[in-house]
């Protein structure tokens, strides 16, 4: 059996219609087209579907219509499965609801096969384009940004920071430095690209891969630094606040109990009420305790807000625009602003003169781990504040 694709059939239909209108018989037309007469008759019947407009059915039978249909189906596959993250069943549903299922097979199996073809074609085309673009490309020094994600299999992801081009996105057995280096080396093969800097969290394998294997500079990631400080301080500060709130609640209850006792006393009949206890002093003491507890709560809230603000401010401090002085020769030293910010965060966690050891260690550790070398002249006068 000869299988003719839709485009060939559409071309033959258009040619056959022309012959028919020229006065030839069906037998002659079929002979001229090289098909059986019954086949030609079958083609002429076209799509018989109640929901389909006749004009649309006639258009879809033309070569232009077939190409349009192909574009619609491929676009649906592309957008729904590759951009939208939905599956093949959504494509089938789209074809059914749009009425295109009158012209295109909308079963799962058919669309799944098309989806496989689409993914293979996308990968093949992108590979060819990558090779084409890399020819004659000027050598470039780039900064890569690397991290792992888990699905739960380990997926290594590395992209160029400025352009956002993904060099590497693949599953791996492990996330050791050697695996990273091997995978990135394969991904960059054939490209005149040199990795001079890597941005990542402080994972040992990533640091070793960037600094050791790639011989590049490892740029510490701001977010993870902030997260470390936040992790170290937020729990302690929240606990302080919770404790202060419980003190306030207890003081409030004590004050209300004293007031209730006084009211209860004065509601008693005069005899045998006896001599009244020292309600005024008791209530005064309860009010003082409540005031003290509320002040303590306010301080805890202030400390918490201050710590949040300071952690957020680290983002502005860790920038070349805030370099305000520099130790002359060696181009190495510490940025006083950043160090000050971290120390302020540590002191914000202090409660009555004692900081939580983990919070203090984290803030001080971050300050010493990230020395901020400065350079005279660069960005000195242009703080963004």
């Amino acid at each position: 059996m000869i299988r003719r694709d839709r485009l060939e059939r559409a071309h033959k239909c258009v040619a056959g219609e022309a012959l028919l209108s020229a006065g030839q018989s069906q037998r002659q037309v079929a002979g001229a087209l090289g098909v059986a007469r019954s086949t030609w008759q079958d083609w002429q019947q076209g799509v018989s579907h109640q929901a389909v407009p006749v004009a649309l059915a006639a258009f879809v039978a033309t070569p232009e219509g077939v190409r349009w249909l192909q574009r619609i189906v491929v676009a649906a596959q592309f957008v729904i499965t590759l951009r939208g993250g939905a599956g093949v069943r959504m494509v089938c549903e789209f074809l059914e609801l749009s009425g295109l299922s009158a012209f295109v097979a909308a079963s799962y199996g058919t669309q799944q096969a098309l989806n496989v073809a689409l993914e293979e074609t996308v990968v093949a085309v992108s590979g060819e384009q990558r090779n084409t673009l890399s020819v004659g490309m000027a050598p470039r020094q780039v900064t890569v940004c690397e991290d792992e994600t888990f699905h739960p299999a380990i997926c290594l992801v590395a992209l160029e920071v400025v352009s956002g081009f993904i060099f590497l996105e693949q599953y791996a057995e492990n996330r050791s430095a050697a695996t990273w280096s091997q995978a990135l080396g394969t991904a960059l093969a054939g490209l005149p690209i040199e990795v001079i800097q890597g941005v990542s969290d402080e994972a040992k394998a990533l640091r070793r891969h960037i600094q050791g294997d790639c011989d590049a500079h490892h740029s510490p990631d701001l977010f993870h630094g902030q997260q470390e400080v936040s992790k170290a301080t937020s729990l302690h500060l929240a606990r302080q606040l919770k404790q202060a709130e419980s003190h306030v609640a207890a003081a409030q209850a004590s004050w209300e109990a004293e007031r209730a006792a006084e009211l209860a006393y004065w509601r008693q009949p005069r005899r045998p009420r006896g001599r009244p206890p020292g309600f005024a002093q008791r209530i005064q003491a309860a009010v003082e305790e409540l005031t003290r507890a509320e002040a303590e709560r306010e301080q805890a809230q202030t400390r918490q807000c201050e710590a949040r603000t300071l952690i957020r401010a680290l983002g502005e401090l860790y920038s070349p625009l805030f370099i305000a002085n520099w130790p002359s020769a060696a181009h190495r030293g510490s940025c006083p602003a950043l160090r000050g910010g971290l120390e302020a965060t540590a002191s914000a966690c202090r409660c009555r003169g004692s900081a939580h050891p983990r919070a203090r260690a984290s803030c001080q550790g971050t300050a010493s781990d990230h020395p901020i070398p400065c350079h005279r002249g660069l960005f000195l006068r242009h703080g963004a504040d």
Binding site: L69, R83, Q129, R130, D147, C155, G164, Y318, S319, P320
Partner: protein
């Protein structure tokens, strides 16, 4: 930041500029470009406008006809501009790009329950060669510095035609009636 400042210094030294121009590039041009980059990435309109205004105010004197930078020939000026741009791009402190991509992949994974190698490669290709930023460029165009034919058009040319639906015969509904008499 030692790396950043050292690399900037090396790159600017390689331009072999006069001391005056050297200072201008380091103190004004690179910070202005850096601020412009930060402003573009900023999500809040207020900070975006503030940074952009600051950047413009720093660039304004450099655009005056009498400025030494304007006395250079256009090729040299373009070269300085390009190197300054590269220097501004050198300072990177955020892994948000890759974290965002991880989030995208998680969404895909959540929806499909598993991501095969082929699917993952296709998603990477779509990110690199199809998705365009506001300026209309793909990631590949930004990296390679050249335009490429749209991915979808290339794919469309190679994709098989969608198969027609099967021809359904008129269905003869057979109702199940357990008590009907045998014919």
């Amino acid at each position: 930041m030692a790396f950043f400042f050292a690399t900037v210094q090396t790159k600017i030294d390689a331009l072999d500029l006069s001391p005056e121009l050297h200072q201008v590039v380091i103190e004004q041009l690179i910070p202005a470009i850096y601020l412009e980059r930060v402003a573009t990435r900023s999500t809040r309109a207020e900070s975006r406008h503030r940074l952009r205004a600051l950047s413009t105010s720093m660039l304004e004197p450099l655009r005056q006809a009498a400025h030494p930078l304007q006395q250079l020939d256009p090729t040299a000026r373009a070269c300085i501009e390009q190197v300054a741009g590269e220097c501004a791009d050198l300072f990177q402190r955020s892994s948000s790009a890759v974290e965002g991509r991880n989030g995208q992949l998680s969404l895909h994974h959540h929806d499909r329950h598993r991501l095969g190698d082929r699917k993952l490669a296709a998603l990477t290709a779509v990110h690199n060669f199809h998705i365009r930023r506001v300026d209309g460029t793909t990631a590949a165009e930004r990296l390679f510095g050249r335009t490429h034919t749209p991915l979808f058009e290339q794919v469309l040319k190679r994709m098989p035609l969608p198969p027609p639906p099967r021809q359904r015969r008129t269905p003869q509904l057979k109702r199940f009636s357990p008590l009907s008499l045998a014919a």
